[in-house]
């Protein structure tokens, strides 16, 4: 038998039917649902008189629309001021009740961002296929699971058939060799990768991330890397299973127990690419070369290290790049600025499915401890990824550190990552954000987003502008 990549193995173990035209029917083990991309799917089921194929394969929680202030959250759904958002969240509750799907609603401590909740509960397991109507579903690939985002028609398709019609992607390996420098995190690694291959570099590929720079990451860090595979154009990001994976999963509420656990871990040990497996594309980065990263423009590939000059449109030779850079310079209001430190920040956001897990919050707290947020800042908020992350952080006293430094401590949700709730940027405002997209208008109409790691966001909050966290912590 020929050597297989991890992606090949996951594909083969979920193949229901191979069709002559190259498409295939793939079985789906877990579907995560949230309020934004599911209502039309449930409506479709109802209109066709169909029932979900296997209810236990679904898990739902509202995240995109939920408010994050304590005052609003004590009232549950009723605390949502925006009537349109409220209908959407209520609709998820109603649909889950009607179809018998397990939901962590707004009053449940397990509620949170789907991509934080799935792994936290052990609902996401190695070797699974995982889908969700959200492109950041690639997050779950950190567990050696085949996970990707789908549209609402496919959400309905999976509910009704437990399958998806798919075409196999090509295999790409992105290897990060060596040891990461101090204060350089998973977020810097993935931003550097996107900077190297571009936002369409992974289109048509499943990317496996490997090498010592990846293997040394915690599960939280691995999730951050896989989360942003889609920002490199790849629907799927993957990391091989090892002891770090298994230790994380063990004992979680939905993780297998007893005899099942023993069976599972012996099966999971095979979830690595074979030694001689062939990749269609291999990209290698040196961990030592990666410095703290900051995006300067309106696409995640418009990223530089903290000590680099902001690239100018006139220096670009590729006409498409030149035009894109010119547009980004204008939108971001960079005229007269040459370095990242020249940008005065208005807000700081620490949160999102990329960086709202306990490790992220610990790092940010470490940086702001005993310091004060710059007086020039309008707002700095910390939004934990789930109710359980929030509880853990409070147990460790992190909220006290944040509040003492002048950051707001919020309730869990997607929040300012895409500003579907009340947390958003005003026109022209610059934000240091630990989220995943810096598109025009993403965090609010006319808002200007700079993507960074939790450590760099925390350092920026203290300084009021971007600064190498290594420099900040020295003083």
């Amino acid at each position: 038998m020929s050597a297989k990549t991890l992606y090949d193995k996951l594909w083969d173990s979920h193949l229901v039917q191979q069709r002559d035209d190259g498409s295939a029917l793939i079985y789906i083990d877990l579907q995560l649902l949230h309020e934004v991309t599911s209502p039309q799917a449930f409506e479709g089921l109802r209109m066709a008189g169909r029932k979900p194929w296997r209810i236990s394969s679904s898990l739902a929680t509202p995240d995109h629309n939920v408010p994050t202030t304590k005052e609003e959250r004590v009232f549950g759904v009723d605390g949502i001021a925006d009537p349109v958002s409220k209908i959407q969240v209520t609709t998820l509750d109603d649909n889950c009740n009607e179809f018998g799907i397990t939901e962590f609603n707004m009053k449940d401590i397990r509620q949170g961002i789907v991509h934080v909740v799935g792994p936290e509960q052990g609902a996401t397991l190695p070797g699974m296929t995982v889908v969700c109507g959200d492109s950041h579903t690639s997050t779950h690939g950190a567990f050696g699971a085949l996970a990707h985002g789908i549209g609402t028609s496919e959400v309905e398709h999976v509910l009704a058939t437990q399958c998806l019609v798919q075409k196999k992607s090509r295999n790409m390996l992105v290897r990060v060799d060596g040891e990461l420098s101090s204060w350089v995190s998973a977020k810097d690694v993935v931003l550097a990768i996107i900077g190297a291959i571009g936002t369409a570099g992974g289109t048509g590929y499943a990317i496996e991330f490997g090498g010592t720079g990846i293997q040394s990451l915690s599960m939280e860090g691995r999730m951050t890397v896989c989360n942003m595979a889609i920002e490199a154009g790849a629907r799927v990001g993957l990391i091989a299973v090892d002891d770090t994976t298994i230790d994380y999963v063990k004992g979680r509420p939905y993780a297998p127990k007893g005899e099942h656990w023993d069976m599972a871990i012996s099966a999971w040990k095979d979830l690595v690419s074979d030694k001689d497996a062939q990749f269609d594309e291999v990209v290698v980065l040196k961990a030592e070369d990666i410095k703290p990263q900051v995006t300067w423009g309106t696409s995640p590939e418009m990223v530089i290290a903290i000590d680099e000059a902001i690239p100018r449109a006139e220096d670009q030779t590729d006409p498409v790049k030149k035009e894109g850079y010119a547009r980004a310079w204008k939108y971001m209001g960079l005229k007269g600025k040459t370095t990242l430190a020249d940008i005065t920040l208005d807000r700081v956001f620490i949160g999102s499915c990329t960086n709202s897990r306990i490790e992220d919050l610990r790092i940010a707290a470490d940086v702001v401890k005993g310091r004060k947020v710059a007086s020039t800042l309008k707002q700095a908020i910390v939004v934990p990824g789930s109710g359980l992350v929030k509880a853990q952080a409070e147990k460790e006293g992190l909220h006290i550190i944040f509040e003492a430094a002048g950051l707001e401590w919020r309730e869990p949700g997607c929040s300012m990552c895409l500003a579907m709730n009340a947390d958003k940027l005003g026109a022209g405002e610059h934000c240091a954000s630990t989220s995943n997209r810096n598109f025009e208008g993403r965090q609010g109409f006319g808002g200007r987003t700079h993507l960074v790691s939790p450590a760099m966001a925390a350092a920026a909050a203290i300084a009021g502008h971007f600064v190498d966290v290594n420099e900040l912590v020295k003083h």
């Binding site: 029917l25 397990t102 437990q162 069976m263």
Partner: protein, 216 residues
């Protein structure tokens, strides 16, 4: 789903690379629980001067005059010419819903983001990949003459430019079949239910922990 066979229509050239799904339909409009009504907010931030709100009437809103779809000559356009990596970003199907609701039947670009490309086929909207030089020629021809029409023939897998130049494109057989006949692919998959059940039985033996019911 509405079938797509052959379409002749006015083409609008959107000369911008990496058009993301936030540009196609900004997040505030994703709060709807319906599939329709997104057309008036298609490209909302590129199209209007002000910030759009869900359920807002759009007729009186100030327009960005330089935006292509606001030019009178492109009123009624049903084919969108675009640049590389069109539809990058989120998985929101609201993006093809908005394009379809506005009146577009086809988007032609040198490359698309995967999820967006896939979502189009579920909604009777045909995404077509052509070579960069072919796209350049279409942009030039469509811009040169007002009212220039493009013919998209899915059966023949061709795009015919206003001057009569014919370009061929590739499309998956299964997707082509579904689109030509307006087929509901859930119905098609359910015809294979015995294969799905067979797979489940086999899998249940190998990995029983995947099939446990969830305690609430």
């Amino acid at each position: 789903m509405r079938p797509f066979t052959k379409h002749t229509g006015l083409a609008a050239p959107l000369d911008l690379a990496n058009v993301d799904t936030d540009m196609i339909i900004p997040k505030q409009f994703l709060k709807s629980i319906k599939r329709t009504g997104f057309g008036k907010n298609l490209f909302d931030e590129l199209r209007y001067e002000d910030e759009g709100q869900p359920d807002q009437e759009c007729d009186g809103r100030p327009l960005r005059k330089d935006f292509i779809l606001n030019q009178a000559r492109y009123t009624g356009a049903s084919v969108l010419l675009a640049r590389q990596n069109f539809g990058c970003g989120s998985s929101r199907e609201h993006a093809p819903w908005a394009l379809d609701d506005y009146g577009f039947r086809s988007v032609i670009a040198p490359s698309f983001a995967d999820i967006f490309y896939n979502n189009c086929f579920k909604n009777g909207l045909l995404p077509i990949v052509l070579e960069a030089e072919e796209i350049d020629q279409l942009f030039a021809e469509v811009t040169a003459r007002e009212g220039a029409q493009v013919v998209v023939d899915l059966e023949a897998q061709t795009v015919t430019s206003p001057s009569g130049a014919e370009f061929t494109f590739l499309v998956d057989n299964f997707r082509k079949h579904c689109l030509l006949n307006g087929l509901d692919d859930i119905g098609l998959t359910l015809q294979e239910d015995s294969a799905i059940r067979r797979y489940e039985e086999k899998r249940m033996n190998a990995a029983p922990w995947l099939f446990l019911s969830r305690e609430q």
